[in-house]
């Protein structure tokens, strides 16, 4: 009996040590990202004045095709397209891809922009579900609507890439809002390093709580909904810290599907968007890395912190849980598809740092964290684990979490200053502390649920139930 007790105690201690070690490794990784992001912002502070950016680069800007896949967006699509058409950029076309919407999305577009059926020669290089019709607008010669059978976002983007006539395309969500100078800013890496840059991503911010008029953010505000508020801090951390840091060292493995620029020829060469994953944005970026590394060609995937795309965050637990478990599935699908890259010297830093961080944060992280929540407090209360173990676990889950979140917020305040008022900063600081007391734990549960779904082969996207931007 004594031996069994000892064995159980050793097992519990062993598990606790593994959990704390994984948590510590994650925390150290995040702190490194914070330092790298601070360095990146210090070296290349964003130019606050859009006019100056325009004056510096207007004559060099290449044409861009904006691809906006839309599925059941009848309530917002017209406003979104109007907003896209008024972007501050000299040469661009807008290609809305109606991905077999069951509502009146196409009708709303036809009426608002007086669409007419047109013929347009295009390069059919990527596979996608059949196109039913192509429409152009006499009012806006740079607007086209592709009406196709439903095939999912990746499928719709592939259809858009085929129709795109610009060397660079912008992939986005039709229900997101781009700031007027977002294209002008996100294109900058392509101008700075035209021979190497194949993709460039911008920042996605939470629009809940902002005042929106005519498809534009006219006043930045914070959401009142606590879930959306937690996500505001979370997005700051994800974009301003993680992506900026990984972009600086050349290992960025994701450009958000809500807003990213890609060199069309590079994406076509790599085979376009994968249609069999729910994480098509991450999968494409990882595939681009793999494509160029396999061929030993130089390339760069960049992230620019200042161009902003605003998106509506889920405000209910059920919607948010579906989104998070889907993101987790997407990350795991990408990891599984490209697992050969992990720690493979052929892929350099992308294989070690980029894929290593996916392994740590997305694959083992959620399981370890949830195990810790279940084991450490219980066995501490039962007297199996000492108080030291409990403190150490709290340190890696809570204290480091606070330091990293508040650190990201500090970066935002020092370099970008997008948060409008001092009292909003106070609220966000409190949120950065509070998110570690409940929200973080919920996220761990949703991500473990996503892992379970992935293991069972679930492929559903799930309803997102957005409420739409209020004008």
């Amino acid at each position: 009996m004594m031996e069994v007790d000892t064995l159980a105690s050793v097992a519990v201690h062993g598990i606790a040590i593994v959990v704390i070690t994984i948590g510590l490794a994650q925390s150290i990784l995040h702190l490194i990202q914070l330092v790298l992001a601070a360095l990146a912002l210090r070296e290349n502070p964003p130019e606050p004045q859009s006019d100056i950016v325009w004056r510096r680069s207007a004559s060099d800007l290449p044409p861009v095709s904006i691809l906006a896949p839309a599925y059941n967006e009848e309530a917002t699509i017209v406003e979104s397209v109007r907003s896209l058409l008024s972007l501050r950029y000299p040469h661009f076309e807008v290609l809305v891809i109606n991905d077999g919407s069951k509502d009146q999305t196409l009708r709303a577009l036809r009426e608002a922009f007086e669409l007419e059926a047109v013929e347009r020669d295009h390069e059919e290089v990527l596979d996608h579900a059949p196109v039913v019709g192509l429409y152009g607008s006499p009012m806006h010669p740079n607007l086209f609507v592709i009406d196709k059978q439903n095939g999912g976002k990746a499928d719709a983007l592939n259809a858009g890439i085929n129709q795109a006539r610009s060397p660079i395309f912008c992939s986005m969500d039709a229900d997101s809002i781009l700031e007027p100078d977002a294209l002008l800013r996100v294109i900058q890496p392509f101008l700075d390093d035209p021979d190497n840059v194949v993709a460039s991503g911008g920042t996605v911010r939470i629009a809940n709580g902002c005042r929106i008029q005519g498809g534009r953010i006219v006043e930045v505000g914070l959401p009142r909904n606590p879930l959306a508020l937690f996500q505001t801090v979370e997005y700051l951390r994800a974009f301003l810290m993680a992506r900026l840091a990984w972009s600086r060292v050349g290992v960025l493995t994701i450009i958000s599907g809500a807003f990213g620029l890609f060199r069309r020829s590079a994406v076509v060469e790599a085979g376009g968007y994968a249609r069999d994953t729910v994480g098509e944005d991450m999968e494409l970026v990882v595939r681009l890395h793999r494509h160029y590394r396999d061929r030993r060609q130089s390339y760069r995937i960049a992230y620019v912190p200042e161009p902003v795309c605003w998106t509506e965050a889920p405000q209910t637990l059920s919607t948010l849980s579906r989104q998070r478990s889907r993101w987790q599935r997407g990350a795991l699908e990408t990891f599984a598809t490209h697992r050969a890259m992990l720690f493979n010297p052929r892929y350099g830093r992308v294989g070690s740092v980029g894929f290593g961080s996916i392994l740590l944060i997305d694959v083992v992280g959620p399981i370890a964290e949830l195990t810790g929540y279940l084991i450490v407090p219980v066995f501490w209360m039962l007297g199996v684990l000492s108080l030291e173990f409990f403190f150490a676990f709290i340190a890696v889950t809570f204290a480091f979490g606070v330091a990293v979140s508040v650190g990201s917020l500090a970066l935002e305040e020092i370099e970008l200053r997008r948060v409008p008022r001092a009292r909003d900063l106070v609220l966000l600081t409190l949120t950065a502390v509070a998110e570690n007391l409940g929200y973080r734990q919920l996220n761990a549960i949703w991500r473990v649920w996503g892992t379970w779904q992935w293991m069972r082969g679930t492929t559903a996207w799930g309803e997102m139930g957005r409420t739409g931007f209020k004008a």
């Binding site: 925390s27 403190f391 340190a395 500090a410 900063l425």
Partner: protein
């Protein structure tokens, strides 16, 4: 103390430090509100130079000095210069110079953050070369390549003799991440001094990307005197150089370059054929009709598409010579 406790202590200290830092930033934000109001007043004061025929120089000088102290002068100047042209611009710059703005910008160009130095160089481009030349020349050797590029561009814009060698040297030395900016400068230099740079494009020892930028500048300038140099480089061994030359010939539109453009429709490299097709369409070169017809079966989709568009632009054949 055990390792676990040390870890907990370290994490707690970090969390507390981050919160303390954030508290300081929040206090800083509260204080900055007043500071920003002050800068807004400076901006308004400087903007008054636009609307007043007589201004209180002492007051405006105070605004300029205050804005300069906080690195806000260059952004204000650039903002205004972005919206005014002609005599209004000249008067505004003259007033600014009379209250010491150029001096303040020169000072800013010497120190401060790179981004501020870049803006100062850009703003100085609007002033009299005598006010700016020496400072810009010094800044063209700045430790930061972005400042160098901005200073050299400002030198070109102010009419200070463009230091060709300096610009080419910068483009040759630029890191990959700065290549675009350096090449844009080369193109700008070429467009503003095309007769001088037209000989540079013939130098085969220069890197292809630099020659392409020089050629693009010549195309932008549309000076017919550069046609003969472009006709020569349109036979270069490098397809990127040939493609750029054909584009430039298309922009210039000199009849001296027509034969070269039409010949490029049969170039082995598809980007060259594509540029030639675009040039033929823009210039409505009916003599290229049959060659365009052949390109409807080209291996490149882009060449086929643009050939269709070019034929459409040419319209139906007008006479037998056209058809031939």
């Amino acid at each position: 103390m055990s390792l676990l406790l040390l870890l907990a202590g370290l994490a707690a200290a970090l969390a507390l430090a981050s919160l303390a830092g954030m508290a300081l930033l929040i206090v800083g934000r509260v204080l900055r509100v007043r500071h920003e109001a002050e800068l807004a007043q400076c901006r308004r004061g400087i903007l008054e130079l636009l609307t007043r025929t007589t201004v209180d120089n002492v007051l405006v000088r105070r605004y300029v000095d205050r804005a300069a102290r906080h690195g806000a002068l260059a952004p204000i100047v650039l903002e205004v210069l972005g919206i005014i042209r002609g005599s209004a611009r000249a008067t505004f710059v003259m007033h600014l110079a009379s209250v010491g703005a150029a001096r303040q910008l020169r000072r800013r160009l010497r120190r401060g953050r790179s981004a501020d130095r870049v803006r100062a160089a850009e703003a100085l481009a609007a002033f009299d070369p005598r006010e700016a030349a020496a400072a810009l020349r010094r800044a063209s050797h700045d430790r930061d390549s972005r400042v160098q590029v901005a200073a050299l561009r400002a030198m070109i814009d102010t009419g200070v003799a463009a230091p060709f060698d300096e610009i080419i040297r910068l483009a040759l030395a630029a890191r990959a991440a700065d290549q675009g900016r350096a090449l844009s400068l080369v193109e700008h230099m070429s467009a503003t001094s095309c007769r001088e740079t037209s000989q540079l494009v013939l130098r085969v020892d220069l890197r292809s990307s630099i020659r392409v930028a020089l050629i693009a500048g010549l195309g932008e300038a549309r000076d017919m005197a550069t046609t003969s140099a472009l006709v020569v480089v349109a036979r270069d061994h490098d397809p990127y150089v040939r493609a750029a030359a054909i584009s430039a010939l298309g922009s210039i539109g000199s009849p001296q370059g027509f034969e070269t453009i039409v010949r490029a429709l049969r170039d082995p490299s598809w980007p060259v054929r594509l540029r030639a097709v675009l040039a033929v369409g823009d210039l409505r070169l009916a003599s290229a009709r049959s060659a365009l017809g052949e390109l409807l079966h080209d291996g490149s989709w882009w060449v086929r598409l643009r050939a269709t568009e070019a034929l459409d632009a040419l319209g139906p054949p007008q006479n037998a010579r056209d058809v031939a």
